[in-house]
C-alpha cells in the first residue's frame, strides 16, 4: 500500500436554516506518505472542512458521505472511541488562529504534554524532559513551559500550537493555515518546523491560501475550488504548467506573477454542483462545460478535474 490516506467520493454537507450547504463535493484523492502536501484554495472553498472530515470532527449539523481510508482503516465507520485513540497519536491536527486555539489558563508545558500523557505516550514524570525536548526542537526557549499563551507573540504561539498537536509525531499531521498572520521570519521558522516533522516521519498536510508558501514548501499540491478538488500535481509540474484554468488564474494572481485577479466571485454552495463550479468564471470554458458533469482525469502523475483534458 503506497497511500497513507485515500479519500473517495467524499461529500460534506451542512444543514442550515436556509437549506443544505455543500462544502465538499465529489472529492477523491490519495495522499503519498513522507512528503509535504499542500491544499491550496480560497476562503470557503472547503479545504478546512476536508481537514475536519479527516479527523472526524465536523460540526454537529454536518454530515459526510464517501470513504476516508487511513492506513487500511475506514475512518468513517470507526467508533468515536477508536477515533479518539487515533486523533493526536496517528492523525495530528494543528488548528488555525494560535492565540485563540491555546487555552490561556494553562501553562504552555501542560498544553504540550497533556495530549501525550493522556494517550500514555509519556508518563507524568517524563513531562519536564518531554516538554524541554519539544521546545528545543522547535527552537523555542525552554523557560516557556511555565508561561501562558497570552504572554507569547503570534509566531511563538503558532509554534507552541504545532508542538501541542505534533508531540507524538503522528504519521499524518494536518496543519490549518499555519502561517496566517505571521511575518516572514516566523513563516520561515514554521516552514522549517514542518520540514523537520516530515523528516522525522510525519506526513504534513498543509491547508493554506498562500501560493508562495505552497511553492516553497510542498512536494505535492492539491487545488481546491468551490467545494471540489480541481487539480492534484507534483509541485514542479504544477508551477511549470498548471492544467486547470483555475490553477492558472491562481498562479497569475500572485504578486510576483503579475497580480492578475480572477474575474467574478466565489460560488454559493446551496445546491449540489452538477457541472464544474469554476465554469461561470472560467476564461477557457467550453460549450460542453455548461451542462456536462466534470470527471477527474488522470494524466501521468497528476489529476485534473476539467473537461478540456
Amino acid at each position: 500500500m503506497s497511500h497513507l490516506l485515500s479519500i473517495k467520493d467524499l461529500e460534506v454537507t451542512f444543514r442550515t436554516a436556509e437549506g443544505t450547504g455543500y462544502a465538499v463535493t465529489d472529492v477523491s484523492a490519495d495522499l503519498k506518505p513522507h512528503q509535504i502536501t499542500t491544499i491550496l484554495g480560497e476562503s470557503g472553498s472547503g479545504k478546512s472542512v476536508l481537514g475536519s472530515a479527516i479527523v472526524q470532527l465536523l460540526a454537529p449539523n454536518a454530515s459526510a458521505k464517501g470513504s476516508i481510508r487511513f492506513q487500511d482503516r475506514e475512518l468513517t465507520t470507526l467508533s468515536a472511541k477508536e477515533m479518539d485513540r487515533i486523533r493526536g497519536t496517528e492523525i495530528g491536527w494543528v488548528a488555525q488562529n494560535p492565540q485563540s486555539a491555546l487555552n490561556s489558563v494553562f501553562q504552555i508545558g501542560t498544553l504540550i504534554a497533556e495530549g501525550p500523557i493522556h494517550h500514555k505516550y509519556i508518563t507524568k514524570n517524563e513531562k519536564p524532559t518531554f516538554v524541554r525536548k519539544i521546545l528545543t526542537s522547535l527552537r523555542l526557549p525552554e523557560k516557556l513551559d511555565k508561561q501562558y499563551s497570552f504572554e507569547l507573540s503570534g509566531g511563538m504561539a503558532q509554534r507552541v500550537l504545532i508542538a501541542s498537536g505534533s508531540g507524538m509525531v503522528p504519521p499524518l499531521l494536518i496543519l490549518d493555515e499555519p502561517t496566517k498572520g505571521l511575518d516572514d521570519n516566523n513563516v520561515a521558522a514554521v516552514k522549517r518546523i514542518i520540514e523537520d516533522l516530515a523528516a522525522r516521519g510525519s506526513t504534513p498536510l498543509v491547508i493554506t491560501h498562500d501560493v508562495d508558501l505552497a511553492e516553497e514548501l510542498a512536494d505535492e499540491i492539491w487545488i481546491f475550488y468551490g467545494s471540489q478538488l480541481v487539480e492534484q500535481a507534483p509541485k514542479e509540474a504544477f508551477f511549470k504548467q498548471p492544467l486547470h484554468p483555475y490553477s492558472k488564474g491562481l498562479i497569475d494572481a500572485t504578486p510576483k506573477r503579475g497580480l492578475v485577479p480572477i474575474p467574478g466571485e466565489s460560488p454559493a454552495f446551496n445546491t449540489r454542483p452538477v457541472r464544474c463550479t469554476y465554469y461561470p468564471r472560467c476564461p477557457a470554458a467550453l460549450e460542453i462545460c455548461r451542462n456536462q458533469a466534470c470527471p477527474t482525469v488522470t494524466l501521468d502523475n497528476r489529476r485534473v478535474k476539467c473537461l478540456r483534458y
Partner: protein, 276 residues
C-alpha cells in the same frame, strides 16, 4: 459622594462574611454565657450592661445565642452549596457538552427538579427523614442543584465552541478530561458568583425551615430557631427577635451581594479582555 469601586466592595463583603464565620467558629471563646443555660429568674430581661441584648423567654443570654446562632446554618449552607454545586456542575456539564439524548434527558431531569416548589419539598423531605442536619442538607441539595446545572449547561454550550476547546479536542482522547478540566477552567468566575449567591439563599432557607420548626431544633442556638422562640414575647422583649433577624439579614445580604459584585467584576474583566 464618591462611588465605591467594585473591588473595594468585594473586599468589604468578604471581610464581613469572614468576621461572621470567625465569630461563629470561636463562639465558645467569645460568648459571655452558655447559650443554652436557662435562668428562670431572669426571663425576658431588656438589654442591660450584664446582658447586652437582654435575655429570652427562658432567661438565656441573647447575645451568646446570637454569637452561636450562625454555626448550624453557615455549616449546613456551606455543605449544601458545595454538594449542589458539584451535582450541578457534573450534570450541567454533561448536558451542555452533548447535543444528543444525554442533553435531552438531563434537561428533563433539570426541569423536573426546578419545577418543584423549593420550600414545600424541603419541608416534605425533612418531614419524611425527620429533622436533623443531614435531612436539611439533603432537602436543600435536592432543590438547589438544578438551578446550578442549568447555568453550567448554558455556559458549557457556549464555551465548547471556543477554538481552544476544539483544538484540544483534536489531541485529547478523554471527553471527561476535556470537559471537566478545559471547559471548567473557563467557568471558575461563574462558579464563584454562583457559590456566593447560592450560599446566601441556602442560609435563608435554613432559617425559614428552623423558624417553622422543621430545621434546626431547639434548644440549638440558631437564628431561625431564636426568632421562632422570641415571637411569643415580642412585645415585652423585642431584642430577642431583632438581634437574630438582623444577623440573618447581614449574613444573607453579604453573601448574595458578594455574588452580585463578583458578577459585576467578572463582566467588567470580560469586557476589557474582549477589547484587548
Amino acid at each position: 459622594m464618591k462611588k465605591i469601586s467594585t473591588k473595594a466592595s468585594i473586599y468589604f463583603l468578604i471581610a464581613v462574611i469572614a468576621i461572621i464565620i470567625v465569630i461563629n467558629i470561636f463562639a465558645p471563646l467569645i460568648a459571655p454565657y452558655d447559650p443554652t443555660a436557662t435562668q428562670m429568674t431572669l426571663r425576658n430581661e431588656l438589654p442591660s450592661s450584664v446582658h447586652w441584648f437582654g435575655t429570652d423567654g427562658l432567661g438565656r443570654d441573647v447575645l451568646s445565642r446570637v454569637i452561636y446562632g450562625g454555626r448550624g446554618s453557615l455549616f449546613i449552607s456551606f455543605f449544601a452549596t458545595c454538594l449542589s454545586m458539584l451535582i450541578g456542575i457534573f450534570i450541567g456539564g454533561l448536558a451542555g457538552w452533548y447535543d444528543n439524548w444525554v442533553d435531552h434527558s438531563l434537561q428533563v431531569l433539570m426541569s423536573l427538579f426546578q419545577s418543584l416548589p423549593g420550600l414545600s419539598i424541603s419541608i416534605a423531605v425533612v418531614g419524611v427523614l425527620g429533622p436533623s442536619n443531614y435531612s436539611i442538607l439533603i432537602a436543600l441539595t435536592l432543590t438547589g442543584w438544578s438551578g446550578v446545572a442549568r447555568i453550567v449547561r448554558s455556559q458549557v454550550r457556549e464555551i465548547k465552541h471556543k477554538q481552544y476547546i476544539e483544538s484540544a479536542r483534536t489531541y485529547l482522547p478523554s471527553v471527561f478530561y476535556l470537559l471537566f478540566h478545559h471547559v471548567l477552567s473557563a467557568l471558575w468566575p461563574t462558579l464563584a458568583v454562583l457559590t456566593a449567591q447560592r450560599m446566601g439563599r441556602m442560609m435563608l432557607s435554613i432559617s425559614a425551615l428552623s423558624f417553622i420548626g422543621v430545621g434546626l431544633q431547639p434548644p440549638t442556638p440558631d437564628w431561625g430557631v431564636m426568632i421562632q422562640d422570641a415571637k411569643t414575647y415580642v412585645i415585652q422583649q423585642p431584642w430577642a427577635l431583632i438581634a437574630p433577624a438582623v444577623m440573618i439579614c447581614i449574613a444573607a445580604f453579604c453573601l448574595t451581594r458578594l455574588g452580585e459584585r463578583l458578577r459585576d467584576y467578572r463582566d467588567a474583566q470580560m469586557r476589557t479582555m474582549e477589547n484587548m
